[in-house]
């Protein structure tokens, strides 16, 4: 293990909010970058909002925010005030990367667009993330990932066979975009480290989502087919689905790729004769008779408990798993021991369990730090980075610049 985290010395000025951008910078902060998150209580990040059972609203107790925005410092700056924009520019001058996901053109109004920042810091890397990208006829659209993915084709492809489109859980694709942003930023930083050149990175959430549906897009481009949702089914595997087991709303996911695997499944289900049934014997038969196949399988899986069936299927080397809700996931021993759940301290709520990065590095010990309360490091950042005195900071606060 190395004491040094790989991004120490890199500073990121993060104007991002909601999910995709702030979570990307949480990865970089956890790897040692100094992430300075700029926000304002005048227009708080909606995910800072937490509501008690009695309806009381808090801005520093949100579990969602704390699970997304860790490993950073927060300063409050009201960018509608010119002095705040001047402070932001001074911070950018000390930064390596700027990230933002405002509606196209909004930062330019404050003199904080890429062309403005390039004048202050010629090798700056700026990443802008918007629903549909920085140019084109619909550049100024607003939206979150879950609304935007409809435009990208993913919503149409998600749903029960023959039914309408579906929304997706987990604010999909916001955190997928976060992970992409980590890659894009680091690629640009790698280039800057070698050449001294910065650049502007333009992420269209929709376009990134469309890079993740190549099967359907290539089907259209190669054959002209324009298919709808397929439920849990797959074009190359059968059975391939979620099947009921004993208990209320309990399910097991099973993916069978070959005829050998099909025979093993029939053994486990206690119906070896089904394997030889000419309607199901070969993959092509099973794909053709998939409705019938799925009901035959479902009729047998019901006789098993979830854990028992999964264990037996795994014993035979089959691809299967329990269908988890959040409680099931948190009770999975392997997940609980995966080092993806870490206790981090937070000024307002104390120590809490936070999901950190999903990848493990044999030579890096990430520098995880609990999420900041709003503006928690305002004084620290202004003093340390800009050399402002306590009086100057008090004056800015009195002038409502630091809110």
């Amino acid at each position: 293990m190395s004491a040094k985290v790989p991004l120490s010395g890199i500073r990121i000025i993060d104007f991002g909010w909601i999910f995709a951008v702030p979570h990307a910078t949480a990865w970089l902060g956890s790897m040692g970058a100094d992430v300075v998150r700029i926000e304002t209580s005048r227009a708080p990040d909606m995910i800072r909002r937490s509501t008690s059972p009695t309806g009381e609203v808090f801005f520093n107790r949100s579990g969602v925010f704390n699970a997304v925005d860790f490993s950073r410092r927060s300063i409050v700056l009201d960018l509608t005030r010119p002095q705040a924009c001047e402070i932001a520019r001074r911070l950018v001058k000390l930064g390596d990367v700027v990230s933002e996901n405002f509606t196209v053109g909004n930062l330019r109004k404050y003199g904080l667009g890429y062309e403005d920042l390039k004048k202050i810091k010629p090798d700056i890397i700026m990443l802008s993330c918007t629903p549909l990208g920085q140019d084109g006829p619909y550049a100024r659209t607003v939206g979150w990932g879950p609304t935007t993915q409809a435009f990208a084709g993913l919503c149409h492809l998600t749903g029960y066979p023959g039914g309408g489109p579906s929304g997706i859980a987990a604010a999909w694709p916001d955190f997928a975009v976060s992970v992409g942003i980590v890659f894009f930023m680091l690629a640009a930083l790698h280039h800057r480290n070698r050449t001294g050149e910065g650049q502007h990175l333009d992420v269209s959430m929709a376009e990134m989502v469309t890079t993740m549906i190549p099967e359907a897009m290539m089907d259209y481009f190669m054959t002209g087919r324009d298919e709808g949702p397929k439920g849990n089914r797959d074009d190359a595997m059968a059975p391939h689905g979620v099947f009921p087991v004993s208990g209320d709303d309990q399910w097991v996911a099973i993916a069978i790729a070959t005829d050998d695997e099909w025979r093993a499944l029939c053994d486990v289900l206690g119906v070896p004769s089904l394997a030889a049934d000419p309607d199901f014997a070969r993959l092509s038969d099973r794909l053709r008779n998939v409705e019938m196949l799925d009901s035959e399988v479902a009729a047998r899986t019901r006789n098993f408990g979830r854990e028992e069936l999964v264990a037996r299927l795994r014993e035979r080397g089959l691809a299967a798993g329990p269908v988890y809700n959040i409680e099931g996931l948190l009770h999975d021993d392997v997940f609980a021991n995966s080092r993806m759940l870490v206790k981090l301290n937070h000024r307002a709520v104390g120590e809490r369990t936070i999901p950190v990065l999903p990848s493990r590095f044999s030579a890096i010990e990430p520098a995880y730090r609990g999420a900041p309360t709003m503006g928690e490091q305002t004084d620290e950042v202004l003093t340390e980075l800009l050399g402002l005195s306590a009086d100057e900071i008090a004056k800015l606060r009195a002038d409502n610049v630091l809110v």
Binding site: P6, P146, E207, T211, L318, A319, P322, V323
Partner: protein
């Protein structure tokens, strides 16, 4: 559409990085390593794709094929995943094939290996072996469950990762009314494969920065399952922060409809629409003509609107069927409210926004002819994504890579081909 040539003079961000992608030997199609190597190749790295001789990589058999003619060189998924790569064939099940892989790794920066630890032990390519032998190499295990935990040799894939993460449980989002007949749902396509690929690519870049700083490579353990679990962080945060008496706590565990969905039917299809927050609610009022119902006390705050969400949803369902997708999109966006048309792949292909940004790219492939496919996932202003070469024919670069880089002579290459190693 972009002819993929306009940026030819510019450098690329990952120029000079060398990546090796090993084939997945599982029967489940698992595209994560192929996509991760593609991300590197498309931004400038040299990516060598190692494929099993004769059959080639799994995606070559999956199509889609023009005219339904099965041809390992013309499948759409293969063309998408392998454009910009060099292709070599090597049989990893044979010692000679494995030796040649090790020689390729001598000059590589990153290797993506999608095989289970037990398979890697059998073929002599376990991550420990590679890390010991090549101290500067970044060895990325891209597996179903991770390389080091108790699930490491279980088989998984997109369906299993989706459903073991909790993402499948909440899908479709707030649309389930009949639990037994609406099971938890996979997302369209192979989302966990591609998400795992982005996770592997981001993680490999982190390890590259570590190597820049220290000179040392390492093992990076990327799990398809945990890549999907990573999406569930809001729910995990709610679980560790809110009391069980809080409605939001219970909401994240149940999959029955309990609030507004993202999608609504309109005149000619569906749109996504969301206007619960103050800013959007206030913007929506004039769009609706400031009706009296919107000013009722029961809708005065986001919390109250959440409590009365069914009433709001009923109003949305009355309003949208009068509008086409395009009308709803333009009207709502005109008031800065999130709303988008639900597009099919054909409509995505035809939309003017992507066209204006040259998102889809075309190039000529020597066997497949004119190929159109999705392009850059991010537009780099100075070092753009681009197509430099079409997807390799099976074994196309055996001579270039094994001959020129590994200095194998013609006679040796001929013998390897005869033995079926390449």
């Amino acid at each position: 559409m972009n002819d993929a040539g306009e940026y030819r003079e510019l450098p690329q961000a990952l120029d000079g990085i060398r990546v090796v992608e090993l084939p997945c030997l599982d029967t489940i199609p698992f595209m994560a390593a192929a996509m991760a190597a593609k991300l590197f190749a498309d931004f400038g790295a040299e990516a060598i794709k190692v494929e099993p001789p004769r059959t080639g990589a799994k995606e070559r058999g999956l199509g889609p094929f023009r005219d339904a003619r099965l041809d390992p060189e013309t499948g759409g998924l293969h063309l998408f995943l392998n454009t910009n790569k060099l292709g070599v064939t090597l049989d990893l099940e044979r010692p000679r094939g494995r030796d040649l892989v090790l020689r390729l790794l001598e000059s590589a920066d990153i290797v993506f290996n999608p095989n289970l630890p037990a398979v890697n032990e059998r073929i002599g390519l376990s991550w420990r072996t590679l890390v010991e032998r090549f101290p500067k190499l970044i060895v990325v295990s891209v597996t179903f469950f991770g390389a080091e935990n108790a699930y490491r040799n279980f088989r998984g894939g997109d369906l299993v990762a989706t459903h073991m993460s909790g993402v499948g449980w909440g899908t479709p989002w707030n649309q389930v009314t009949d639990l037994p007949n609406q099971p938890p749902l996979r997302i369209g396509g192979r989302q966990s494969d591609y998400l795992c690929a982005y996770t592997a690519a981001a993680s490999a870049m982190i390890a590259l920065f570590h190597r820049d700083a220290t000179g040392a490579g390492q093992h990076v353990d990327v799990s398809q399952w945990l890549s999907m679990v990573n999406m569930m962080r809001p729910a995990m945060g709610i679980y560790s922060h809110e009391s069980p008496g809080n409605p939001i706590y219970d909401r994240v565990a149940k999959r029955i409809k309990r609030g507004s969905p993202w999608v609504y039917p309109c005149k000619d299809g569906w749109v996504t629409f969301a206007a619960g927050g103050d800013r959007f609610w206030n913007a929506w009022k004039p769009l609706m003509g400031n009706p009296a119902w919107m000013n009722q006390e029961i809708f005065a705050t986001p919390t109250l609107r959440m409590d009365n969400v069914e009433k709001i949803e009923a109003k949305i369902r009355e309003w949208l069927p009068a509008l086409t997708r395009q009308e709803a999109f333009e009207k709502a966006q005109g008031h800065h409210i999130p709303c988008f048309p639900v597009y099919s792949p054909a409509e995505v292909a035809a939309n003017p926004q992507y066209a204006a940004r040259h998102f889809f790219v075309e190039h000529d492939h020597p066997v497949a002819g004119r190929v159109t496919m999705p392009g850059a996932p991010c537009k780099f202003g100075g070092t753009p994504w681009r197509v430099k070469r079409g997807a390799p024919r099976l074994g196309e670069h055996n001579r270039k890579v094994l001959g020129e880089q590994l200095k194998l002579g013609d006679a040796e290459l001929g013998a390897l081909a005869k033995e079926g190693v390449i």
